[in-house]
């Protein structure tokens, strides 16, 4: 039976370092199984968040050999090295060991105006065609593991952008709302001015790490960027609105419908150093 060395980050907000645990390899295990064996045999105080162990709860997000992954969905036999490094998600503040504080995501979730349908049919119900809602089904697969948020360099490497960048998970949420046939809120200006859609430079890391294989960039972010172009950068679309006397919703109007808001906008141009200080 061969051995594996698990290089696990141990620590909290006061600092930390790697600790090595040597274990026997057991056929068929995933990384989370090995972490549980470390807890059971070598380090009972090792903190790790988990729940379903089936890739559906999104709790056991971590970085395995530097790649944001779900520990429960990463088979040990797919990792080529005999030493495996596990660290907590880098983008979020550490609580203890492999557990991070992901509350940034809950703050951002509250910046989004919720689903707002128009008037119902005369019989008091809402109706829509299957073909109209098919596209948004993909977005509903999101398990909120926040791996896409973790890998996104906009906030991973430039933390100050957390002030005005919602992140890929919430662009998926916004896409599901914007494309919904019954929704009536226009969030395009809000996405441009407050939620930082323009920060995304579509390098597709969010799509690469998504355990649900949602095509985040191609099917959510880029379509949203194109909708923002319709609203803010396309002179022909602007002319069309003028001729048809249609007005677009301003960012402020949309933001009024959100459960909460953060103060600065992505267009404020606050120098990064000034905010960080």
């Amino acid at each position: 039976m061969s051995e594996v060395t698990m290089n696990v980050w141990r620590g909290d907000s006061n600092g930390g370092n790697f600790e090595q645990y040597k274990l026997e390899r057991v056929e068929g295990e995933v990384v989370l199984d090995v972490v549980h064996r470390i807890q059971a045999t070598l380090a009972p105080d090792l903190a790790c968040r988990w729940n379903c162990k089936a890739g559906k709860c999104g709790s056991c997000s971590a970085e395995i050999d530097g790649k944001p992954s779900l520990m429960c969905m990463t088979r040990m036999d797919t990792l080529p090295n005999d030493t495996i490094t596990i660290t907590p998600m880098k983008t979020f503040p550490i609580i203890k060991d492999l557990v991070t504080d992901v509350s940034f995501n809950y703050v951002m979730a509250r910046q989004i105006p919720p689903f707002t349908p128009g008037d119902p049919e005369p019989d008091g119900t809402y109706r829509m065609q299957q073909v109209d809602i098919d596209r948004a089904q993909e977005f509903h697969k999101c398990i909120e593991c926040f791996l896409c948020q973790d890998v996104c360099h906009v906030i991973r490497d430039h933390e100050v952008n957390k002030l005005y960048y919602a992140g890929p998970r919430f662009f998926v949420r916004l896409a599901s709302l914007e494309m919904h046939p019954l929704d009536t809120v226009d969030r395009r200006a809000l996405m441009r001015e407050y939620l930082g859609l323009g920060f995304c430079n579509i390098t597709k890391c969010c799509t690469e790490v998504c355990p649900e294989h949602i095509k985040i960039t191609d099917n959510a972010i880029i379509p949203l960027k194109e909708r923002v172009v319709d609203a803010s950068y396309d002179p022909i679309a602007w002319l069309g609105r003028k001729i048809r006397r249609k007005s677009k919703t301003t960012a402020e109007e949309a933001y009024e419908l959100a459960p909460a808001r953060v103060a600065p906008t992505s267009l404020d141009g606050i120098p990064a150093t000034a905010v960080e200080n």
């Binding site: 105006p113 933390e159 172009v229």
Partner: protein, 281 residues
């Protein structure tokens, strides 16, 4: 009215906390152990090679047209539509004529603005050069090569939003390149035929059409901007046709890029007499 409105809880300022300690080693750029650098290195190599070849070809200003002397009507895609004054040597061969009479430099330098703009603002190429040249980031989970970052929110990168206008122009260029491919069936003095050169121009035009149509902006304009597909059946059908092509946009971007350079090279070699354009029938 939303629940939040009913409860009178909006607007409410919620703080975002930054600067709290994060886990993992701070000094390392990445903990990845695989060869993550291969992909950006290959991308940088191929793109640099293409740019070097295209610059060489564009500044040549000659050997881009195989005319009646060789019983052919082949023009390099780098030089089509040949609308510049300096292009008069092929006047009469192309129905568009000369209307950039002010331009006396190599015609390619004027023409390549459109395909260059289209590819530079393309959503796939943005990923490719942000990763490989700008290192922002070079690969997933590898630290960004810059201290600050504003993405595409400011000049000049905000200009990427003009992508759809380059798409419109690129589609017009595709029409011209298709005309070139049709004209390549004409063998002056010999009638209608089919040669390797004809095949090259036909494949090139087809690849450029598929690449252009698979573009994300095209997908959006054809149907992506609609929320109720059931009320726009034709646009929905278009969107359904483009969506699988769009999923292969990266592959189409590379194949069409390499082939357009090969097409120019082929025409250049024939025009300069290095190789003979073999007539198949």
């Amino acid at each position: 009215m939303t629940i939040a409105q009913e409860q009178g809880t909006i607007p409410q300022v919620v703080p975002v906390e930054i600067g709290r300690p994060r886990g993992g080693p701070k000094e390392k750029r990445t903990l990845r152990t695989d060869r993550w650098w291969i992909s950006p290195a290959v991308t940088a190599t191929v793109l640099t090679s293409f740019v070097a070849y295209a610059t060489f070809a564009a500044f040549q200003g000659k050997d881009y047209y195989v005319g009646a002397k060789m019983h052919r009507d082949l023009i390099s895609p780098f030089y089509s539509p040949c609308i510049a004054e300096s292009c008069q040597r092929v006047a009469g061969s192309h129905p568009l004529g000369i209307w950039a009479s002010f331009w006396n430099f190599s015609p390619a330098l004027l023409i390549l603005i459109v395909p260059l703009g289209f590819r530079l603002t393309c959503y796939y190429y943005r990923k490719a050069y942000y990763r490989s040249f700008w290192q922002s980031p070079p690969a997933c989970g590898v630290a960004d090569g810059h201290r600050s970052y504003t993405g595409e929110t400011r000049f000049p990168l905000i200009l990427h939003n003009v992508h759809r206008y380059f798409l419109y122009l690129a589609l017009l260029f595709n029409v011209v390149l298709t005309m070139d491919a049709v004209l390549a069936f004409n063998f002056p003095g010999q009638g209608i035929g089919f040669s390797v050169g004809t095949l090259v121009l036909c494949v090139n035009a087809a690849l450029l059409w598929i690449y252009s149509v698979s573009c994300h902006a095209c997908r959006h304009i054809c149907g992506g901007q609609i929320n109720e597909f059931s009320k726009h059946k034709i646009r929905y059908r278009l969107w359904k046709m483009i969506t699988p092509l769009n999923a292969r946009h990266m592959q189409l971007a590379w194949v069409s890029l390499v082939f357009v350079a090969l097409s120019d090279l082929y025409v250049r070699l024939v025009a300069s007499g290095i190789i003979h354009d073999y007539k198949i029938f």
